[in-house]
């Protein structure tokens, strides 16, 4: 009997009891991947050898009586933007085709230490730029709820792998919503920790002051277990917080929001969003009230400028972060026929190695930082960032957490928005403010939209370094919803075509 539909916590418990070995569990997941991934395309690379070696090692330790962590031996899918030594890391780009990093990222080191089994690398929008995974140089990932639809982005591969039961745990990264929005449209859970909560060492940078790696899973508790495994100070990352890891597992299990104030942010409360998204959001608010919380309305007027500021700051930092891809030291090299100089080879390589969206953002970022335009664009955007932080600070004096629908729509069709950059950017309208202020954000499934039967995500935002609050509210809401439905949301996903 396949255990792939269990939660990670349940798998961990089964492993601890000796009901199953990690090797068996890992093989079950590789079997599942073989069955469905041709259709889903969540993975870019599978590391059977490494995964089974790790699984074997964990089994041996357990057999020897060692006390292991709650997710030791549990499989995981890793977004292809994090380095894993000796394993291909492409960041969804042609530029890094075939590149095998000589070092492990901080996240991977922590995962290995926790005994987690890394199955492989998942698909993503190129260099994390996108909201649909359509910008991958290796083809899109398909939403397991409806294979003609996007799984969200940039971390569509990770969230799809969860929804397709190819892995019970996944790591994503979130710069403007790239963990949360895919979680919303695939009916899974995803968290962006407080900025600095998880090491960025080995996280290929898109926008350094916004990027954050985070846990993804099918349940809030699983997400919490993974969060505790990967969070913590890394002296190799100067922006890493040097504080104890927040007690998110305990918070996720608390199932109690009595007396908490839940702030609905007027500017991102659903006006202009898909009707079904608003409906499910408001129903969830009601459940929280029934659980003893108080809903308050807050206004963050500067959120109206968040998208604009983000699409100046992120491309600016990206234009600088991606300058290193010049074919000199690693990555592909184009046009080096012996007759061309280094600069020309750089130019040609970057023309071929980068996709449209990446080039667009590099040019936009170069412009925003350039002499004469810095003050009007990048400089102004950084000021908007201050205003957004102040809005959050003011709001958090009135509420313990803030909430909103995660995304304005459910999963759209592949190809529907790929020719309209602005329309694509609007997918992040509710998630972006969180990254701008560096606070924590979670998305959990809150139902299916009545008009299309597709998952809707509920976003919870907690103050800086108080990630436990979003797990407390998220865990409670999830339990209330499951109770109301009589089942979990993900259990309702239609069966994928089994080959």
């Amino acid at each position: 009997m396949s255990s792939i539909r269990l939660s990670a916590a349940e798998m961990g418990a089964a492993l601890a009891k000796g009901e199953i070995t990690s090797v068996e569990l890992t093989n079950q997941h590789f079997d599942r991947i073989a069955e469905v991934d041709t259709a889903v395309h969540a993975f870019l690379h599978l590391d059977k050898e490494g995964a089974l070696a790790q699984a074997k090692s964990v089994d041996a330790k357990r057999a020897a009586g060692e006390k292991l962590g709650p997710i030791a031996g549990v499989p995981l899918a890793l977004k292809d933007v994090l380095t894993q030594k000796g394993i291909p890391t492409t960041c969804g780009s042609k530029m890094l085709e075939g590149w095998r990093p000589p070092y492990d990222s901080g996240v991977v080191t922590k995962l290995k230490d926790a005994g987690v089994v890394i199955l492989g690398k998942t698909n993503m929008d190129e260099f994390a730029m996108g909201s649909s995974t359509e910008n991958s140089a290796y083809g899109p990932t398909h939403n397991p709820w409806d294979l003609t639809r996007i799984p969200g982005g940039s971390g569509g591969g990770s969230s799809a792998s969860l929804a397709a039961f190819e892995a019970p745990l996944a790591i994503g990264t979130d710069t403007g919503g790239s963990i949360r929005q895919p979680a919303a449209v695939t009916g899974t859970v995803g968290v962006k920790p407080t900025y600095g909560g998880v090491s960025r060492y080995g996280l290929v940078a898109f926008s350094s002051s916004l990027d954050q790696a985070g846990p993804c899973a099918r349940t809030v508790l699983d997400t919490a277990l993974l969060h505790e495994a990967i969070a913590g100070h890394d002296p190799r990352d100067s922006t890493s917080i040097n504080s104890p890891v927040p007690q998110v597992v305990a918070a996720a299990k608390r199932l109690d929001v009595k007396g908490m104030k839940i702030g609905v942010v007027k500017e991102i409360s659903g006006e202009g969003f898909q009707a079904g998204v608003r409906t499910r959001f408001e129903e969830s608010l009601q459940l929280l009230v029934e659980a003893g919380a108080e809903i308050v309305e807050v206004s963050c007027p500067n959120f109206d400028y968040a998208l604009a500021a983000y699409y100046l700051i992120a491309p600016s930092e990206a234009s600088s972060n991606l300058a290193r891809f010049d074919s000199m030291r690693y990555g592909i090299r184009v046009g080096d026929d012996g007759n061309r100089g280094a600069e020309e080879v750089m130019n040609l390589t970057r023309q071929v190695g980068f996709g449209r969206e990446v080039k667009r953002r590099i040019i936009l970022g170069t412009y925003a930082l350039s002499s004469g335009y810095y003050d009007a664009y990048y400089g102004s955007a950084q000021k908007v960032r201050t205003l957004i932080k102040r809005d959050f600070e003011a709001a958090f004096t009135k509420a313990d957490v803030l909430v909103s629908p995660t995304a304005p729509t459910t999963a759209f069709k592949i190809g529907e928005k790929s020719d309209d950059p602005l329309a694509m950017y609007l997918n992040d309208i509710a998630t972006i403010p969180v990254n701008m202020a560096g606070i924590g954000g979670m998305s959990l499934p809150c139902g299916l939209a009545p008009e299309d039967g597709l998952p809707v995500g509920f976003q919870i935002m907690s103050p800086v370094m108080q990630d436990d609050l979003m797990y407390r509210v998220g865990g409670t809401l999830e339990a209330a919803l499951n109770s109301k439905w009589g089942h979990t949301l993900i259990s309702q996903i239609p069966d994928l075509q089994v080959r």
Binding site: W99, L203, S208, E317, R324, T366, Y374, Y378
Partner: protein, 515 residues
């Protein structure tokens, strides 16, 4: 220094006027600007823990950070911050309570990230000054050079150009890169514009870099060897017509690899610019390269467009906010200023200006101080280093300090003081030590160099000398003391210089009844 320009030189065909430096300085006023880069001597690099040792096998002192691999992140070296603050304090700067790193964005293969992590509008030290003294027609003159800023950045890798006939960049078939040097901490010291130096501009510049080097050396923060690249100078100069009150267009000269080159480069640049202006041509704002062999500068490769560095605050690093307590602590670590030390030593040793200047120019101050510290009598220490050792060094075309150690010389001087060696014998011992015959004691033993001060042995030689020059001896008996010199000389010659001359004189005069 004479002018470089020969009117017969075909380069000047068609020139209406040609000025030499002196003439140029009668018509134009120079304004200087100096940028000095210092490579710090920290154990590890600026942003990562790779070793900074010079001469390692290529690409064996690199890591994801200094290679700029995807995903790598910088972490600031605390010692580098400390060294930079010390430099700022020594240059009388204010230490910024809040300073930040910034990215300087441009593409070049020796720069792994294609941006340099540096500092832009929030440098760590600002508004200092350095006083220098030069010799002018009217005697010594002081100049105060104001310092705009001192900031931190990182060094680049090294490229080797292969193929092509000249071995220089143009015409090379490919290039090879070694990133061992990439990421080594650099401190950049930038002066404010320096007006009012007139014809002394080249000397002032040289004096500034010299004094700066001495300060950095005394702080112990860098090897400051210009020939090895741990101290680099870019010299900026512009000319304006005398009395115009305006500023001209400046040029920047790089590849200035010695103190002398600083002076020569500015001398040549001033002449070049003056001649352009005299002939009605503009001075182009550009970067030029100093050519050691001719003392002239050539233009760098002209860029189509000026580079736009698109500076923005480095998001991977957090601000540096040194607190007052830390700065006060570092201030106590400041060593004596070189200029203060020089004055102190001059007073202690009671040395006239001319000799002091000679010692400073010959860079013998440190070794003389060392030799004295080891017990040598001060005047002898100075005289030996400035005299005999320097003479030998010039002959062999090496540095005096490379010939003999202060310890060995101090030992030899001590033997002179105790009377066991005469000056003449001592010179032979020095020669022996330099030739590698061993320590002073070894040389003395091997060569049998010992002062003869045994009275009876000396008397034998004295009587022989008297016998050979009876008339001279008679004159001495008659009261002509100076005549003793000839006999003393004869005794010295006979003993191969091993006699103690003072003793010989004493014995001789006594013997001849003139004690």
């Amino acid at each position: 220094m004479g002018s470089h320009f020969d009117l017969a030189d075909p380069r000047f065909a068609g020139a209406l006027v040609a000025l030499n430096f002196a003439q140029a300085m009668e018509k134009y006023e120079p304004t200087l600007g100096l940028e000095v880069h210092v490579e710090l001597n920290t154990n590890s690099k600026m942003f990562c823990s790779c070793a900074t040792e010079f001469g390692g096998s290529p690409n064996t002192q690199t890591c994801p950070v200094c290679l700029g691999l995807p995903g790598a992140l910088p972490v600031v070296n605390a010692k580098a911050i400390e060294s930079t603050i010390l430099i700022g304090l020594a240059l009388n700067c204010s230490i910024a309570p809040y300073s930040r790193f910034a990215r300087k964005n441009y593409f070049y293969p020796d720069m792994p990230k294609n941006f340099q992590t540096s500092q832009y509008d929030e440098p760590i030290c600002v508004n200092g000054y350095l006083d220098v003294e030069i010799d002018t027609d009217e005697g010594p003159a002081k100049f105060r050079i104001e310092i705009e800023r001192v900031h931190m950045e990182e060094d680049t890798g090294k490229s080797l150009h292969v193929g092509g006939s000249t071995g220089r960049i143009h015409g090379a078939e490919y290039s090879l890169l070694d990133y061992n040097r990439a990421g080594i901490p650099l401190v950049e010291i930038v002066t404010k514009i320096v007006p009012g130096t007139g014809k002394y501009a080249p000397q002032v510049a040289r004096a500034y870099v010299t004094e700066l080097r001495d300060i950095l050396r005394s702080l112990g923060v860098s090897d400051v060897k210009m020939e090895q690249g741990s101290l680099r100078c870019d010299a900026n100069v512009s000319l304006a017509p005398m009395g115009s009150g305006k500023l001209g267009t400046r040029s920047e000269t790089k590849n200035v690899n010695s103190l002398r080159s600083v002076e020569r480069a500015l001398f040549g640049e001033i002449e070049r610019q003056a001649n352009r202006l005299e002939n009605g041509e503009r001075v182009v704002q550009e970067t030029r390269h100093f050519l050691e062999d001719t003392g002239l500068t050539r233009p760098g490769r002209s860029k189509e467009q000026a580079e736009d560095y698109r500076y923005f605050p480095e998001p991977d690093l957090v601000p540096v906010t040194p607190d007052a307590k830390w700065i006060a602590e570092l201030r106590t670590k400041l060593p004596e200023k070189p200029s203060t030390r020089r004055k102190r030593l001059q007073t202690e040793w009671n040395v006239p200006d001319k000799e002091m200047t000679a010692l400073i120019n010959a860079e013998l101050l440190d070794v003389v101080e060392e030799t004295i510290a080891l017990g040598a009598e001060p005047t002898r220490a100075r005289t030996w280093w400035l005299g005999e050792i320097s003479r030998l060094a010039n002959e062999k075309e090496v540095e005096p300090t490379s010939l003999i150690s202060s310890a060995n010389l101090a030992e030899i001087i001590a033997l002179i003081a105790s009377g066991e060696l005469t000056d003449k014998l001592a010179r032979q011992v020095v020669e022996g030590v330099i030739n590698g015959e061993g320590s002073p004691a070894d040389v003395i033993a091997k060569r049998g160099l010992k002062v003869v001060s045994d009275d009876s042995a000396l008397m034998v030689a004295i009587e022989a000398a008297i016998a050979a020059q009876p008339d001279t001896a008679e004159r001495i008996r008659g009261g002509n003391i100076p005549a003793a010199g000839a006999l003393i000389g004869a005794v010295m010659k006979a003993t191969g210089g091993a006699a103690d001359a003072a003793k010989v004189r004493e014995l001789l005069l006594k013997h001849l009844g003139q004690a």
